[in-house]
């Protein structure tokens, strides 16, 4: 990027919102994934007009633009793989409108998930897809990755709540999709096309979100299973029982062992632990749903079922699940958190397969995840300084993805393809589908300006 281009960028965003200092370039070289590549410059846009002017300049000058929110993504979506400009939208952080009567929130992309949550709380409302990074991540990032969370089984993912977008396309045109209405079948669903598009088609500058009332009552239960198949059948049984829990989490044996080695929780080291939460607007209704869930746990040979009688007891039951990330993050120097997703009925074979793959490649994998929507987080733990171990992790990952696809699932349930899973796109998407994706990319971004190198769109 030459001096003239940098000056032009300064003109667009102002001196205070542009940087080519090394400290910014290094901090923008990475997200929460293992990928790293330095950009040549960084800019903080504060309006859609600035974003548009930058994308137009990028087309004229031929430099890549990688859009970024909080950089909490786990698949390299925000890593500027080809250099160029990182466009940080976190300073576009205004909640533009809250209309509870319409169930609508209009936000700029840099609004932090937790800030929207705080703004909605006094109204008894919530934006349900709650990623684990909710305190830090931005809603623009959530839209870009189609972020999920712990409540996906009942409440879906980000895409289920995006009604409309304002987007600067890769060719520099500004576009509106959708509207503020609760339903719309008007034309192609361009909104959905852009949700989860990882910043490769356009840059979202405004988001219209559907919001939901927050259920005030919950019931919480923990169950342990000494047999993986029983746990898998219990999950399917819950799904068939006529109720959908708001949370149905699973912790595998390796995860329970790791927690025991690093905390004083003294968990039973069994094949699987399931944590269920039901929610409703009355305690009676939450309890009624939980009875169904517990019935399925018991019918499928749960060794032990603990039901919380109070909020404090519920917090106790959540402890193991909440400790997963922090415990596993400290075990080895490096980790990758995958997010393969399979039909709920295939959870047991998937979990068993993960253990077999780990044993075959002599790698450490601990698994937990959202059993309620079949989304598992096998966490590979290793030392990147050990080349042989790194190679074995890569080989094991490839088998993991193949198994997920073979079981009727997907490479990624909520983190996105980005750089991490680009080499495996062909496992899940046939040549025709991939060709269509590339056509869509060209239609929106003919010069391949936006976030190049992601999603296997280049080749």
């Amino acid at each position: 990027m030459n001096t003239e281009t940098k000056d032009a960028l300064r003109q667009i965003v102002g001196e205070a919102n542009f940087s080519d200092h090394i400290i910014d370039l290094v901090s923008y070289s990475s997200d929460a994934s293992e990928h790293i590549h330095r950009p040549q410059a960084a800019a903080w846009a504060t309006s859609a007009e600035q974003v548009q002017a930058i994308v137009q300049l990028a087309n004229d000058q031929g430099f890549p633009v990688t859009v970024r929110g909080a950089g909490t993504g786990l698949a390299g979506l925000a890593v500027p793989a080809r250099g160029g400009l990182v466009l940080d939208l976190s300073r576009m952080d205004q909640i533009l409108d809250l209309n509870i009567g319409d169930r609508v929130a209009v936000v700029q992309p840099g609004v932090i998930y937790a800030d929207l949550e705080k703004a909605l709380a006094p109204h008894g409302y919530v934006f349900p897809p709650d990623p684990a990074s909710g305190k830090a991540c931005t809603l623009g990032g959530n839209v870009g990755t189609n972020a999920g969370g712990v409540k996906g089984a009942k409440y879906g993912t980000t895409r289920d709540y995006v009604l409309g977008l304002t987007v600067v396309l890769g060719d520099g045109r500004l576009m509106q999709t959708g509207n503020r209405a609760m339903k719309s079948v008007s034309g192609f669903d361009l909104t959905r096309l852009f949700v989860g598009s990882e910043g490769v088609l356009g840059i979202v500058t405004e988001i219209i979100l559907k919001i939901s009332p927050k259920p005030s009552a919950t019931a919480t239960t923990l169950a342990i299973f000494d047999n993986l198949e029983d746990a898998g059948r219990a999950v399917s049984g819950v799904m068939a029982s006529g109720v959908i829990p708001s949370v149905l989490e699973i912790l595998g044996r390796e995860t329970l062992q790791a927690i025991n080695q690093n905390t004083d929780l003294a968990l039973p080291e069994v094949d699987a632990m399931l944590l269920a939460e039901t929610d409703a607007y009355t305690q009676g209704e939450a309890d009624f749903q939980m009875e169904r869930v517990v019935g399925q746990f018991k019918a499928n040979n749960a060794l032990e079922v603990k039901q919380a009688e109070s909020a404090a007891q519920a917090a106790e039951l959540w402890k193991a699940r909440k400790s997963c990330y922090a415990v596993l993050a400290r075990l080895r120097p490096n980790f990758v958190l995958e997010d393969i997703t399979v039909p709920m009925s295939r959870l047991a074979p998937m979990l068993k397969g993960i253990s077999q793959i780990a044993a075959r490649h002599r790698v450490q994998v601990a698994t937990f995840g959202h059993a309620g929507d079949g989304n598992l987080h096998p966490q590979f733990l290793w030392d990147a300084a050990d080349e042989d171990e790194t190679r074995r992790v890569e080989e094991a990952s490839a088998e993991l993805f193949q198994l997920a696809v073979d079981l009727g699932g997907t490479l990624t349930g909520e983190h996105g393809i980005g750089l991490s899973k680009a080499p495996y796109m062909h496992l899940e998407h046939d040549p025709v589908a991939q060709d269509l994706m590339r056509s869509i990319k060209r239609a929106c971004d003919p010069n391949n300006i936006l976030n190049p190198g992601k999603m296997a769109l280049d080749g």
């Binding site: 200092h21 290094v26 909490t72 990074s133 830090a136 120097p333």
Partner: protein, 367 residues
């Protein structure tokens, strides 16, 4: 470029352990005030990884981020990977100072303490109309900020001790110089020696300070070990007050700001609240409190070196105060009260003061 960075190398495992999750962005006051990831804990760890890998020099360009950390430790408090960022930052600063690379404000601070007895290079200490020296049960240490910048807070603390009829002595105190270790330099043994001599000369059994940083220095630094060895009980004024029967009461709605040095660094959360809640039952917590309290932006030398951003951090804390609906914001650190007061906007109608100031106001009203 030097082949190694020995001080940083000690923390190599810790630095590598940062998994880049970015969760610290939710807690870092510098990031909150600037929205610039390079200044967040994760940004700093990424830079130090590059330094350790030999891809980046520990030079002038890094001053802006490495020296712009309040060492408030809220990142470490919330880090899933358990990275002790403040310790790493302090090591990096020492390394940089060793290489001749330092923010000029801190070079000046170190030089000032070679020539003067306080960090402000003030020649005339405020005497607060009280004698120095003598024998007493308690020795009261006010600290540089208390003596030269927040005199009203110190006056109130001393008046309160008088009101409670505490047998205390003041000394010709000098800067504890602990803060130098936060900004890449070393504590000054000659200053420590002078403080130790004058403190012990009072024959006091208890050392009380209103400065949380002085407290940490006296309790934690080897140079001050003779105080402990002499059997002196070292405590913060808030701990001392929690033992007193104040006999005061007010309906005012009061909130409390946890100073990072008193809270996360010294683990003192309950005693200040105990006193405040007894006197002001209409106590409310700020949105972020106790272990998760938001830093006022003054610590780690940031107020002196990056004043504008320091005030931006304080304003974020004051926004939480505004939301709380409280009428009075109390804190137990003169640096915090200094920064928060400076940042308070005229439109913000609440008051900011130390707990002793608040208590003295109530005492004066009731008399």
């Amino acid at each position: 470029m030097p082949d190694t960075h020995p001080l940083l190398e000690e923390f190599r495992d810790q630095i590598q352990r940062c998994s880049r999750c970015g969760f610290c962005q939710a807690h870092c006051p510098v990031f909150g005030g600037t929205q610039r990831p390079a200044l967040n804990a994760r940004g700093k760890m990424l830079l130090l990884k590059e330094v350790l890998a030999g891809r980046l020099e520990l030079d002038q360009e890094l001053i802006e981020t490495i020296f712009q950390c309040t060492t408030c430790a809220s990142c470490a408090q919330n880090c899933p990977s358990g990275v002790e960022v403040p310790e790493i930052i302090k090591a990096a600063r020492r390394e940089m100072v060793g290489l001749g690379t330092c923010h000029p404000a801190f070079v000046g601070m170190d030089q000032v303490l070679d020539q003067h007895h306080n960090i402000y290079a003030e020649e005339e200490p405020e005497d607060f109309d009280r004698e120095r020296g003598g024998q007493a049960e308690v020795v009261y240490f006010m600290g540089c900020v208390g003596q030269y910048r927040e005199e009203e807070a110190t006056e109130a603390a001393l008046d309160l001790l008088d009101h409670l009829e505490v047998d205390y002595a003041l000394i010709d105190e000098v800067c504890c110089s602990g803060v130098l270790e936060d900004v890449g330099f070393a504590l000054k043994p000659h200053l420590a020696q002078k403080n130790i001599e004058t403190i012990l000369a009072t024959g006091a059994k208890t050392l009380v300070t209103s400065c949380p940083y002085c407290l940490r220095t006296f309790q934690g630094r080897d140079e001050y070990l003779p105080l402990k060895q002499a059997g002196l009980e070292i405590m913060h004024l808030s701990q001392f007050l929690a033992r007193q029967d104040l006999g005061l009461s007010t309906d005012l709605v009061v909130a409390y700001h946890d100073p990072c040095d008193l809270g996360r660094h010294a683990g003192i959360y309950d005693e200040p609240r105990q006193t405040i809640k007894t006197v002001a039952p209409n106590f409310v917590e700020l949105a972020d409190n106790r272990e998760n309290a938001l830093c006022c932006g003054a610590g780690g030398g940031v107020r002196g070196a990056f004043a504008q951003n320091s005030l931006a951090m304080a304003r974020r804390r004051l926004e939480q105060m505004e939301t709380s609906g409280a009428q009075v914001l109390l804190t137990e650190c003169n640096s915090c009260v200094h920064n928060l007061s400076n940042a308070k906007l005229r439109a913000q109608k609440f008051e900011v003061m130390t707990t002793p100031q608040f208590l003295m106001e109530l005492i004066e009203e009731s008399s």
